[in-house]
Symmetry: C2
Subunit: 147 residues, 2 copies
């Protein structure tokens, strides 16, 4: 399961992605639109800023904006920045690997082998999907929904 932090980050990035190229958007605006606790969102956006994904502007008329084109930001990147492992087992994680306590030899673990496949399938989808793609999907869904 993704953490709330990750979900909130994705939601916020979609908002910022739609606004790419425009004037900065305030935390409080994103928070109220997306029903995210403001102080929590503050921390999250700060992390994303410190990771170089967002720029910020203080003072009146300030707020946050994307540094890069939303087409250049993949969903998997956000999961890794905000949450942690994409894999379902620590011994299978590419970026948050941890040795399996109970396995004598994880090279020959059949369970692990299955979850390597799951990880690969998941990473494939999430690395091929950008914030821009999420926005496109949303548009398509809205079109078909109101028909």
């Amino acid at each position: 399961m993704l953490s709330k932090k990750t979900r909130y980050a994705l939601k916020a990035l979609v908002v910022l992605g739609k606004n790419f190229g425009g004037v900065p958007i305030q935390i409080s605006k994103i928070a109220s639109e997306e029903h995210i606790p403001k102080k929590f969102l503050e921390q999250i956006l700060l992390d994303l800023r410190n990771a170089g994904l967002l720029y910020s502007k203080k003072g009146s008329g300030g707020g946050y904006g994307l540094v890069k084109d939303p087409a250049e930001i993949s969903v998997v990147q956000i999961l890794r920045l905000t949450g942690g492992p994409v894999a379902l087992l620590p011994c299978v994680s590419l970026n948050f690997y941890q040795k399996c306590d109970e396995c004598d030899n994880e090279e020959t673990c059949g369970v692990r082998d299955v979850f390597v496949d799951v990880r690969d399938a998941t990473v494939k989808i999430l690395s091929e999907t950008s914030i821009a793609d999420v926005i496109k999907r949303e548009k398509n869904l809205i079109e078909n929904y109101t028909q």
Copy 2:
């Protein structure tokens, strides 16, 4: 991430799967072989028994065994029995669905749409993989490893 409970269950089922058709295996044997805390494993196997997956025999010479052929037990089934959602978002889970607190309309949520795809890919792999398949994978890994 899978819980320890789920991992332990899978490990235990692999042991029991290899033994399918033989005499019952004791909790303590599985626990020591697989480095699983015995009392914890007790609870887990009890759950699997109550779910109809295992039979048990009390008293001397007792233990646990699979009720069904390991080829008939899918990995996804074990996750659902022991852990919970396979999906990465509650609003996307087939068996543990929960409404998204922050979404006004989840039918048109682009983020959700992406994680439906991820869920489908994961469920496909894990429902096509049985305990027998895990055992086969293990055998293949061992063969290639010792070469």
